[in-house]
Every structure is written in structure tokens, then in C-alpha cells.
């Protein structure tokens, strides 16, 4: 098995680049980390192929044992026996491929993108460290190792968002990302404790086995002051962690801010891999979630809400990376809808395809930003198609994949077409009111997705270059690194070097083919899916059949929505470029509401951040300083001092005497105690 190599190559790379970077130099660090990652990616594909072409003889739907490699003991206490174990099953193999492929391409791309940065070795060390943590997460065999990977990717994300540490906005965003994720971890941690109390195991097989035994006889847990369904408590707490990591509605605020980090980081961490950890977690724990229909409903509704909410905000953003970030947020919502419906394989399918086309879009955006000398505001772009044609076509492919272009009923379509339409069909098939709510939310979100994606293309690549004559308005809120390249940015725009373009080609192949090639494994017949996943996640046969048999209008709904979005974007940004401004002026309230992201940042600042600081000050100055110190301690102390003040002068010169007096005092007390004790006892 290559699994040790896959997981530990990136760690080795991180250590070499991190500790020896100064000695061996930037170039060598880059080559070593990138080389190790490419090796890991190749090995991952070999592992994946093993599952892909698994012999038919393997029992369809049977629970094949996952391969487990023990590394060493971890926390052993009482009945707890947690070890570092690398677990490989189909679900892990899919994630291995996603993580190592995107990571190795991002490493490669960064050689070009970060070429001028004076701290490149550190950057590559962080990238590899991230990859290691992510691989530990997806190979986890118990809750705690998953939590380790979870926090490890959080650390790497923190370090990479704040990589340009001189920018205050980067430092703020890094910290925000970590702390908001910790809010999710608050739930994750409690969920782990609850799982241990309810199931008695923290290793996955033990916990799943125990959960199996609970079927039809679900226990009740006394949580806080209420008696609640135990599995619902466990799953919802764990899901809170997933919401934080995957930037779901209410815990999403960190993701758009994270875009101040270098763009390769956005592609790797904040699009393709880390943010999908929540999706992976729910899929991995599908045997537990299956036991709580209520938790599943919550997962679905949160996903639908996020898909819709993020898409609305994406409509009006002006920073090219923020548009894609909201798109990511929205697409993650799609994945959760599939999970909530119980068709985990489709959620993972979208995770898989999304990794390719979203990484492609981000790296493409990076190529644009690189060409424009760190300009990120789309209002200062335009007409770049002629300047950077390769990037342009790559972005077009990414957009076609993201918006889900394809012909329903045929195997013709880009990657997103298969996975996204699959989710929409699943939502419809799930039925009940929640299923329909999710269905319509996703269809509308699909229309918005198409609109903002084409808006991005039009603003960036089509029309007249606007770089030279940016108005005062454009100046107002650009969050990018200001290099003073205005005016000349367009003229100086240049296509990226091939070290940056090759990763785009590879990802573009994935964005085109990942859907059609793998559709059968993730969203084909139930037996095929069950055969492929070999019990690593739950496969609901009936629901899958229902999803395949949805009415024709449902199958076409996403495509129609996509076409409508495309038409609207074409109308507003090509045929009548003044229209957006008119629309914004006509509906200032709505426009500002969307532009300011539904005012979540302002709200949280007011209800969490400011009160916490106020409370801290009040408790410190009020309680500690005033009450305890001034009133009690010093009040009491002053009485004592009044009495003893004449005798003992508390000056350093007298300290020895004072200490000596203490010693005598202790001796006297002790003697007295013994004597008294001896007499009385």
C-alpha cells in the first residue's frame, strides 16, 4: 500500500522547505515540495484506480473491510484507545485523488505565481503542511484524528491567509477564519464527546457498529436540561463543525475575507479541498446521520439556504475572487442538500467535479490578477480576452462546467452538469416540503450562478478595457493590494508563463470530463454505486431510483435556469452595459443589502465581538480591579497593614527579615500544632 507515502511525502516536503528553506534556497524548496506532491498524486491515482476497477467478484453493496495502517498510539486512557491510523476505503480514495491532484497542480502553479515573493520557501512549506493535514483528515479512522486534520488544515489556512503579514486586512482575515472555524469546532468537539457517551467508541468502525445496534431502539440523551434524541444531538453538534469548515450559512463570514490570501491558496484550500471537509465529514459519518431524520433535514435546509444566499450575494460583488468565493460557498450548499437527502454519493460527486472546475476558475482568476499586476476589481478590467487568450478560454471552460452546461438525457455535458443536475434531481425526488424547498432554492441558485459567472466573464474579458479611466467610484472599496498600476495595467497585461498554464490545462480536462466519466460510479445505478463505494457510505437504492425517474421538466429545470441566467448576463453586460447601474439606482436598498452581504459582518460585530470586549473590560476593571482588589484585598489588607505597619516595613531591604520571620512563624505554628495534637490526640 502506498498510503504512508501519500500522506507523509507532503509532510516531508513541508519540513524540508520549512526548516531548511533558508539553506537550500527557494528554487530547491519549490522543486522538492512540488516533486513530492506530484509523486503523492500519482500514487493516489493508483490507489483510486484499484477501487475504480475493483473486480466484479467483490460482493456488490457488501461491506468490504477498509485498509488500515497503524502508525502509532495516541491517546490511551481508561476505555479510550485512540491511535494514529491511516484508513483507506473508496471514500478516502476519492478524497486522496482530489486533494493530491489539486495540491500538486497548485504547487506547480505557485512556482510561477509566487516567483517574485521573498518568502517562497515558507509559502511552499505551508502548502505542503496543509496537504499533509488534509490527508490526515481524509484518512482518519477515528473522530479525533479527523479533528486533528480538521484543526491542522485550519492552522495552515490561517498561516496562508495571513501569508502577506504586512497587510492588516490579511491578518484580520486570517484570524477571523480561525476563530469562526473554532465556533464550528465548539460543536464538533461537543459532538465527539456526545458520540463517545452514546456509542462508547471513537473509532469509526466501533461507532458505526454501535450505531447499527441502536436501529429501531434509539437512545435518549440528557443534554443540557433536556432529554433529546441522542443521535440527533450527536449529528447536529458534529454538523456545526461541518458548517464552520464548509462556510455554511451563519458561519460563512470568514470565507470571502479569506480571499486576501494568495490566489493559489484560494484555489487549493478555499475552493477545492479544505472547505469540502464538512461535506466529507457528513459523508464519512453517514451511518450516524442515517439514524437522525431530523438532523438530515437540517443539513438539507442549511445547504439549500447557503446555496441560495451565497448566490444572491455573488450577483453584485466587484472583486473577481470574491465572486468565485461566494460561488464556492453556494456550491458547497448544493453538496449538503445531496447529503441531507441521503444520497451521499452525489454530494461527493459534486465535491469531486467542483474541485476541478473551481480550482480552474480560481487559478484562472489568479492568472488574470497576475496579468493585471494584482488588480482584483473587475470594474477596472474588461477587454482582456485579446491580451490573455489562453486564460480566457480556460475560464470559459471553468464557467461552462460551473454553470452546468449540457444536454439533459444525453451523456453530453461539462462536469458540473452531471453532478449539479444530479443534486437538483435528488432534491426533487426527496420530496416532502423540505425537498421541494431545496429543489426550488437550488434551481434559482443555478440561475444566479449562471448570471454571476457570465457577468464575471463579461466584466473581465469582454467589452472595452476600463483600467485607464477608473472613476472615483472604483476607488471607493477595492480591497486589493494597491500597487499603483492603474492606467497601465491593461497595456502591460501579459499571458502567464507555462508553469502556470499547464495546471490550467490539466484542470480543464477534469472540468470537461470528470462528469461524464464518473457519472456512473457516483450517480448511476444503485448497484454500481454500492459496488464502487463498498460500504464506505450509505447508498439509498429507492431514492436513487426515484431521482433517476423524476419528470422531464425537473431534468430540464436547471438547464433552463442556466440559460436564463446566461441571457440576463448577456443583456446586462454586453447589450446594455448601463443596465446594472440603472437597476442598482432603482433598488438601492436591495443593492446595498446584497453588496454588504446581508450585513452579517456588521451584525456579528455588534452582537458578538463588541459585547465580548465590553464584557472583558467590565469583568477586568469592574470585578477584578475594583471589587476584588480595591475593596476586598486592599481594604482588608490595609487594616492588617495599619496594625503591623510599624513593625514590618515592606521595603526590599527588610525582605530578608520578613522572610525569616515567616520561617520562624511556620516553625512555631507547626510545633504548636504537633504539641497540641499530641496532647489532645
Amino acid at each position: 500500500m502506498f498510503i504512508q507515502a501519500i500522506v507523509f511525502f507532503p509532510l516531508v516536503g513541508a519540513l524540508i522547505a520549512g526548516l531548511l528553506g533558508r539553506i537550500i534556497g527557494h528554487r530547491t524548496s519549490e522543486y522538492i515540495t512540488t516533486g513530492l506532491l506530484i509523486a503523492a498524486a500519482v500514487l493516489s491515482w493508483i490507489v483510486f484506480a484499484g477501487f475504480w476497477f475493483a473486480p466484479e467478484a467483490a460482493e456488490a453493496g457488501g461491506h468490504a473491510e477498509a485498509t488500515k495502517v497503524e502508525v502509532m498510539r495516541w491517546i490511551v486512557s481508561g476505555a479510550l484507545d485512540l491511535r494514529w491510523v491511516l484508513r483507506v476505503d473508496t471514500l478516502t480514495a476519492v478524497m486522496l485523488v482530489v486533494v493530491t491532484t489539486v495540491s500538486s497542480l497548485v504547487h506547480l502553479y505557485s512556482i510561477g505565481y509566487m516567483a517574485d515573493d521573498p518568502h517562497r520557501a515558507r509559502f511552499f512549506a505551508y502548502l505542503s503542511l496543509f496537504t499533509f493535514a488534509m490527508l490526515m483528515l481524509v484518512t482518519a479512522d477515528n473522530f479525533l484524528q479527523m479533528f486533528f486534520g480538521w484543526e491542522g488544515v485550519g492552522l495552515a489556512s490561517y498561516l496562508l491567509i495571513g501569508f502577506w503579514y504586512k497587510k492588516p486586512s490579511a491578518n484580520a482575515a486570517a484570524m477571523k477564519a480561525f476563530v469562526v472555524n473554532r465556533v464550528g469546532d465548539f460543536g464538533f468537539a461537543l459532538g465527539i464527546f456526545a458520540a463517545f457517551v452514546v456509542l462508547g467508541h471513537l473509532d469509526f468502525d466501533g461507532a458505526f457498529h454501535a450505531a447499527d445496534g441502536l436501529k429501531g431502539n434509539l437512545p435518549v440523551i440528557h443534554f443540557l436540561s433536556w432529554d433529546l434524541d441522542a443521535m440527533t444531538v450527536v449529528c447536529l453538534l458534529l454538523f456545526m463543525g461541518a458548517m464552520g469548515k464548509s462556510a455554511q450559512f451563519l458561519l460563512h463570514t470568514w470565507l470571502p475575507d479569506a480571499m486576501v490570501g494568495p490566489t493559489p491558496v484560494s484555489a487549493l484550500i478555499h475552493a477545492a479541498t479544505m472547505v469540502t471537509a464538512g461535506v466529507f465529514m457528513v459523508a464519512r459519518l453517514s451511518p450516524l446521520f442515517e439514524l437522525s431524520p431530523f438532523a438530515m433535514t437540517v443539513v438539507m435546509l442549511v445547504g439549500a439556504m447557503t446555496a441560495f444566499f451565497a448566490a444572491t450575494v455573488g450577483l453584485v460583488q466587484n472583486d473577481i475572487k470574491r465572486v468565485i468565493a461566494y460561488s464556492t460557498c453556494s456550491q458547497l450548499g448544493y453538496m449538503f442538500v445531496a447529503l441531507g437527502a441521503g444520497v451521499y454519493s452525489v454530494g461527493i460527486f459534486h465535491l469531486f467535479t467542483h474541485a476541478f472546475f473551481k480550482a480552474l476558475l480560481f487559478l484562472g482568476a489568479g492568472s488574470v490578477i497576475h496579468a493585471m499586476h494584482h488588480e482584483q476589481d473587475m470594474r477596472n478590467m474588461g477587454g482582456l480576452r485579446k491580451k490573455i487568450p489562453i486564460t480566457y478560454w480556460m475560464m470559459i471552460i471553468g464557467t461552462l462546467a460551473l454553470t452546468g452546461v449540457g444536454i439533459p438525457g444525453t451523456p453530453l455535458g461539462f462536469a458540473g452538469f452531471f453532478s449539479k443536475d444530479g443534486i437538483i434531481e435528488v432534491a426533487y425526488a426527496a420530496g416532502a416540503s423540505t425537498g421541494y424547498i431545496a429543489f426550488w432554492a437550488l434551481v434559482i441558485a443555478a440561475m444566479f450562478t449562471s448570471f454571476y459567472s457570465w457577468r464575471l466573464i463579461h466584466l473581465t474579458f469582454h467589452g472595452e478595457p476600463r483600467g485607464q479611466h477608473h472613476g472615483h467610484e472604483a476607488h471607493a472599496d477595492h480591497a486589493h493590494d494597491d500597487h499603483g498600476h492603474h492606467g497601465s495595467a491593461y497595456d502591460n497585461a501579459h499571458e502567464s508563463p507555462s508553469v502556470m498554464l499547464v495546471p490550467l490545462y490539466v484542470l480543464a480536462v477534469g472540468a470537461v470530463l470528470a462528469g461524464v466519466v464518473f457519472n456512473d460510479l457516483f450517480f448511476g445505478h444503485a448497484e454500481h454505486i454500492a459496488h464502487f463505494f463498498q460500504g464506505s457510505l450509505v447508498v439509498p437504492e429507492e431514492l436513487l431510483e426515484a431521482a433517476h425517474g423524476v419528470p422531464v421538466w425537473v431534468k430540464w429545470s436547471a438547464t433552463v435556469a442556466m440559460l436564463l441566467g446566461f441571457a440576463a448576463a448577456y443583456q446586462m453586460y454586453i447589450r446594455d452595459p448601463a443596465a446594472p447601474k440603472r437597476l442598482a439606482h432603482a433598488n438601492p436598498g436591495l443593492y446595498l443589502f446584497l453588496l454588504n452581504k446581508w450585513y452579517f459582518d456588521e451584525l456579528y460585530d455588534r452582537i458578538f465581538v463588541k459585547p465580548a470586549l465590553w464584557l472583558g473590560n467590565a469583568l477586568w476593571k469592574g470585578f477584578d480591579d475594583m471589587l476584588v482588589d480595591k475593596t476586598i484585598t486592599e481594604g482588608l489588607g490595609n487594616r492588617v497593614k495599619d496594625i503591623t505597619g510599624k513593625v514590618v516595613k515592606l521595603q526590599s531591604g527588610y525582605l530578608y527579615h520578613y522572610a525569616f520571620a515567616m520561617l520562624i512563624g511556620i516553625a512555631a505554628l507547626l510545633t504548636w500544632a504537633i504539641a497540641a495534637g499530641g496532647l489532645l490526640g
Binding site: S77, F148, G152, P168, M175, L218, I221, G678
Partner: protein, 506 residues
């Protein structure tokens, strides 16, 4: 062999021997100072090696006391008794290993009364190790109380501008607590007729007596930990203490409180401990949440870390009074881990204080540019302070919260807020000190870690990460004794509480 029969005595009193040796170092010139420094360093290094030998020789499967020395002194009731079990054994290497680092770190920063400084620290080491190693309550009291004197001198003589107020407050709090403990010790003697800890551990105090004894010991240990709201002396003491004093205070002296809770409160007064458990939980949660919020708004680096210490000790007291294996195991781990991490954090503060002579957060910023090595080291300890898995800070928090969840979900629920708040205050501190543009005029020319600082800090980095990934050396050494304590506690109070109600259909 006489040596291994008296290993604990040797480890305990070797530092004092070193202190006596220092008395013979004459002169006040730099050569004399250096001689004194190297003698102290040598003595503490030998002690550290012996303590590691003790750890190595310790048999973790044996739940009884090991390396026992037992001599009667005043009748049968008071004696010279030494011995360690899984509860106490690790605190001795923790103390002894940190000591050379403390001595080494003082080489640059302490320039006046060098010899006295070293003597006081060596005497303090004897008291600290003695308190963990003794098996006689009278001796425990002497050692426990004895630590006050050197600490008092350290802050009072080598401290900062407001050192007199700080020493006064430190002494006032501690002494009030220990007087109550002394009364409780006397009461125990009247009850049991002995102060032999081994005998006391099997003596069953009547429940109504336990209540009073528990309160007496609580007064002392709650101040020492310190638990909220008895913590007020700590930030002041830390701010005024020299770096070495802060390190010892945070890393070792606070642990005397936690050790005392396990050795005496839980083990000897189980009924009272059970009765007071909710009270302790409330104070622990208050410590975790309130002091974290207070840490958030501090403007002084040392005060911020001091408050975060109080919050971390909240996990310890919470874990201990769940009375179950995970809680006690986690509490011990948390104490060892905090011993390493808080020591390192105070060393880190000392590094910049030695250079700039200010602890104001405002005065710093952008240190990553001139001090990249420092930035890395500080990041590791910041993350350990935050409790990131993969650092030693995680294991203890995880186990104590798991135990709390089993005992009472409300407790775990509130304690988990510490997870969020610790990230907030620690990362904000890091951001303000290390990140940002390096523009402050006053910081120009600041140097990165020198070789001596690297020698002090790097071993702590290694330990922090090693115990994060492989905590077995600590967990295994303590497991058997922890099981015994938890078992005895459960037996004394009846069945252990369970969070999961019976399955509906069973």
C-alpha cells in the same frame, strides 16, 4: 544500593546542597558571578538527569508508592517519608527539567545579586520537589508553605516597579489559604492519629468532618491554582516577577494546587468532593470563560498570558472533580503540558522584555520581519495555548472536557467556549506582536533569538509537539494510579453518573 534507595532524597536536596556551595563563592565581580551561574546550572542539570532516571525507573504498572523512604521522627505520627506514585512522579522531572532552563535564561537578564538569585532558586527547587515527593502531611505543609518564601524574595528583590504591592498580594492570598489548610491538617491528625499520607489515604473520615477538612484544603489549593475568584494575586505577581520567577510560578507552583486536589481532596475526602463538585464546576467554568474574556482585553503581554493560565487551570479543576478516569488523567496531562507551554510563553515574553524593557502589546508589531525564529517558536506555543491537536495543549483539554460531558453536559458546554475564546485572545496577541508591518522606530535593531535562547526554547518546542502526537510517556506513567484514584472515588460515592439515559426500549 544506598543511592537508589534514597533517590528521592538526593533529587530533593541536591539543589540545596548546590545553594550551600554557592555560599562559598566569594566576590561580586563578573568572574564570581559566572562561577556561581555555572555551579547552579551544573547542579540543576544533574538534578534533572536524576529526575529523568527516576521517571525511567518508575514502574507504571505498580499503583503503590515507589522509591519509598520511611523514617519515624516524632513518634509514629510524623516522619521523614518520601515516595512517588503515578500522580506525583511526573511533576518531579517537570520541575527539575525546567530548572536548568530557568537558570540559563537568567544569564543575560539578571545582573545584580546574581549569587543570591541562584541560591533562592535552588532552595525553591528543593521545596517544590519535596512537596511532590513527600508522603508525610507535616512535611508537605512545610515544603508547600516553604515555596512562598523564595518566591516572595524573587518577586520582591528582582521584580519590577510595583513589586512590593505584588509580593504583598501574593503573600496575603497564599498565607490566608495555607493557614486554613494548617487547621485542617491538625484536625486530620486528631482524627486519624497520624500524618502519614499512605495511612491517611486508607483512613475513612466521617462525611461531616470531610466537609470541613475539604474547605480547609480548598482554601489553600484554590488560591494556589489559582481558581477564580481567588486569582487576583496571579497577574500582578507575574507582571512584577522576573522571567524566571514567572516561569516557575506558572509552570510548577500552580501545579501544587492541582496535585493537592488530587492527592488530598479527591482521595481523602471523596464524599465532600462529590458534594462540592458542582461548586467547583461553576468556579472552573467561571475561570475558563471570565478570565478568557479578561485576557482578551489585556494590554500587557504578561498579564494576558497570566490570565490565560487561570483559564487553563479551570480545565484542570473541572477535570479533577469529575472524579472519573478521563478527568483526572486529563487534568494531570494538562498540568504537565501547561508546565511546558506556559513556561515557554513566559520565556518568550522575557525574550522581548530583555530587549525592549516593556511588556505593552502596543509597543510591538511586525516582529516577524527582524525575528523570524522567534516568530516560529512563539507560533508553536500560541497554538499549544489554543489547544491545537498535535500540540500537548490539546490532550488535556480533550480528556477533561470529555469527562465533564459525562459528568454534566452543561459543564462541557460552557467549557467548550474556552475553545473559541482561547483562539481569540491568543491569535489576537500574536497578530499584534508578530504580524503587521515592521515600522515602529523604537524597535529598530531588535535581534532574533540568540544561541542561549534557542537552547532554552527549542527543547520546549520539541516536547510540546512530541507530547501532542505521542502523549503515551505521560499517560502511561500515570494511568494505573489514576485508575486507582478514580475507582476509589467511585466506590466512595456510589455509582458514577451517566449522561445517557437508558435506551427507550430496553
Amino acid at each position: 544500593m544506598i543511592f537508589s534507595d534514597h533517590l528521592l532524597t538526593v533529587i530533593t536536596f541536591l539543589p540545596t546542597l548546590g545553594a550551600l556551595l554557592l555560599l562559598f563563592v566569594g566576590g561580586r565581580d563578573e568572574a564570581a558571578n559566572n562561577l556561581a551561574r555555572y555551579i547552579a546550572l551544573g547542579v540543576t542539570l544533574v538534578t534533572a538527569l536524576l529526575s529523568l532516571w527516576l521517571w525511567y525507573q518508575f514502574d507504571p504498572s505498580n499503583t503503590g508508592f515507589q522509591f519509598v523512604e520511611n523514617y519515624n521522627w516524632i513518634g509514629e505520627s510524623i516522619g521523614y517519608r518520601m515516595g512517588v506514585d503515578g500522580i506525583s512522579v511526573l511533576f518531579i522531572p517537570l520541575t527539575a527539567v525546567l530548572m536548568p532552563a530557568v537558570i540559563l535564561s537568567s544569564f543575560g537578564s539578571i545582573t545584580k545579586r546574581v549569587k543570591e538569585y541562584l541560591i533562592v532558586f535552588l532552595v525553591l527547587e528543593t521545596f517544590m520537589i519535596g512537596a511532590f515527593a513527600t508522603l508525610d502531611l507535616a512535611m508537605f505543609y512545610v515544603f508547600f508553605e516553604g515555596t512562598l518564601i523564595p518566591m516572595f524574595l524573587i518577586i520582591g528583590i528582582w521584580g519590577g516597579a510595583r513589586r512590593i504591592q505584588a509580593t504583598y498580594k501574593f503573600f496575603f492570598y497564599s498565607f490566608t489559604g495555607t493557614v486554613l489548610m494548617l487547621i485542617a491538617i491538625m484536625a486530620m491528625f486528631w482524627q486519624a492519629g497520624t500524618l502519614d499520607i499512605v495511612k491517611l489515604l486508607t483512613f475513612k473520615f466521617p462525611p461531616e468532618v470531610q466537609t470541613w477538612l475539604w474547605i480547609g484544603f480548598f482554601a489553600s489549593f484554590a488560591v494556589k491554582m489559582p481558581m477564580w475568584p481567588f486569582h487576583r494575586w496571579l497577574p500582578e505577581a507575574h507582571v512584577e516577577a522576573p522571567t524566571g520567577g514567572s516561569v516557575i510560578l506558572a509552570a510548577i507552583l500552580l501545579k501544587l494546587g492541582g496535585y493537592g486536589f488530587i492527592r488530598f481532596s479527591i482521595s481523602m475526602f471523596p464524599d465532600a468532593s462529590h458534594q462540592f463538585a458542582n461548586f467547583v464546576f461553576v468556579l472552573s467554568i467561571a475561570a475558563i470563560i471570565i478570565t478568557s474574556l479578561v485576557a482578551l482585553v489585556q494590554t500587557d503581554i504578561k498579564k494576558l498570558i497570566a490570565y490565560s493560565s487561570v483559564a487553563h487551570m479551570g480545565f484542570v479543576t473541572m477535570g479533577i472533580f469529575t472524579g472519573n478516569i478521563y478527568g483526572i488523567h486529563g487534568a494531570i496531562f494538562q498540568m504537565i503540558s501547561h508546565g511546558i507551554v506556559s513556561a515557554a510563553l513566559f520565556f518568550c515574553v522575557g525574550v522581548v522584555y530583555d530587549r525592549m524593557h516593556t511588556r505593552e502589546i502596543e509597543a510591538y508589531g511586525g516582529l516577524v520581519s527582524p525575528m523570524p525564529r522567534y516568530a516560529v517558536v512563539f507560533m508553536v506555543f500560541t497554538m499549544a495555548n489554543v489547544g491545537l491537536p498535535g500540540t500537548s495543549g490539546f490532550v488535556g483539554e480533550f480528556l477533561t472536557m470529555l469527562a465533564a460531558f459525562q459528568a454534566n453536559t452543561w459543564v462541557a458546554f460552557f467549557a467548550a467556549f474556552g475553545v473559541i475564546l482561547s483562539a481569540a485572545y491568543a491569535l489576537w496577541l500574536y497578530r499584534r506582536v508578530i504580524f503587521g508591518a515592521f515600522t515602529k522606530e523604537s524597535l529598530k535593531g531588535i535581534l532574533d533569538l540568540d544561541r542561549r535562547e534557542v537552547v532554552v526554547l527549542v527543547p520546549l518546542v520539541i516536547l510540546t509537539i512530541l507530547f501532542g502526537f505521542y502523549p503515551a510517556p505521560i499517560l502511561d506513567a500515570t494511568a494505573a494510579s489514576v485508575n486507582l484514584v478514580a475507582e476509589n472515588f467511585a466506590n466512595a460515592i456510589g455509582a458514577a453518573p451517566q449522561a445517557v439515559a437508558a435506551a427507550t426500549g430496553h
